[in-house]
Amino acid sequence: MSLQSPLAKVLGLGAAKEGASHWWSQRVSAVALLLLTPWFLLSLIGQGDMSYGAITVWIGGPVHSVLLSLLVVAASYHAQLGLQVIVEDYVATKGTRMIVLLIINFALLLLAVTAVFSILRIALSVSPVQIQMGTN
């Protein structure tokens, strides 16, 4: 017999109390990517000029640098959540599973930080005059 009240039983989402948060985060990041990825493709095709000078202005502009950073962060986060589910489903051995998940988490964090740092570095080195002359 449980000593929990009926309300406590209903409110308790299990011991960790965060059963739905993984699922929900996956949906939230999906909606963010639903907006960011079409922007990225359209903007890249619209940009056309891939030369170093043009592309640094494109990446480094105030709007593009923010949206690009959000894109890479949301994509890495969404990938982490999705790959985690795949690994949990198909890798049965606990030890291997933990190691694979660690590698995935570290790799995606490395990617996200590298991307944001690169965007920042470009954004801080491009002058406003360059951006005004460019298409950003």
């Binding site: 949906r27 999906a30 909606v31 639903l34 990825t37 493709l41 890249l44 095709i45 056309g48 000029d49 891939m50 030369s51 170093y52 043009a54 592309i55 640094t56 990446i59 690009l68 890479v72 994509a75 890495s76 990938a79 999705g82 790959l83 795949i86 489903d89 995606l108 990617l111 590298t114 991307a115 740092f117 690169s118 965007i119 570095r121 470009i122």
Partner: protein
């Protein structure tokens, strides 16, 4: 330590149908895009590392094998995007009727192929063959 008989995952004993084909493709395309993310971050990092590194990156991105990888990533993107929208609709309780679910599945498939062809054409014309500093 004794290993208890564990329950099997549904995919181990269900009859093969279009629904699980679409589902496994969602996962597969997610993995492909995670690999594509590496190329995107490499491109950003190269632009942050100076003109020489960026020129090397452009040469690498123009390699036939990498171009093919980018094409697969693009196809994966559109499939995952449309199937993801289908998933979000399900989350809101829409589209569970047998006929609707089947139609939506086909719609995902066809729109992914059409939009990939369209976008790839734009990318080839604007970026790969772009006159001013475009990829070779």
């Amino acid at each position: 330590m004794t290993q208890r008989e564990r329950p099997l995952s549904p995919f181990m004993h269900y009859r093969w149908q279009y629904t699980n084909t679409l589902s496994i493709l969602h996962r597969l395309t997610g993995v492909f895009m995670s690999l594509g993310l590496v190329l995107l971050v490499y491109w950003l990092a190269s632009a942050a590392s100076g003109a020489a590194a960026y020129a090397t990156a452009l040469n690498i991105l123009a390699l036939p094998l990498i171009k093919f990888a980018l094409f697969v990533a693009l196809l994966s993107y559109y499939y995952h995007l449309f199937n993801g929208i289908r998933h979000l609709c399900w989350d809101m309780g829409w589209g569970f009727e047998r006929a609707v679910a089947r139609k939506a599945g086909w719609l995902v498939f066809v729109s992914a192929i059409v939009l990939t062809a369209l976008t790839w054409m734009c990318l080839c014309l604007r970026i790969y063959a772009g006159g001013n500093g475009g990829l070779v």
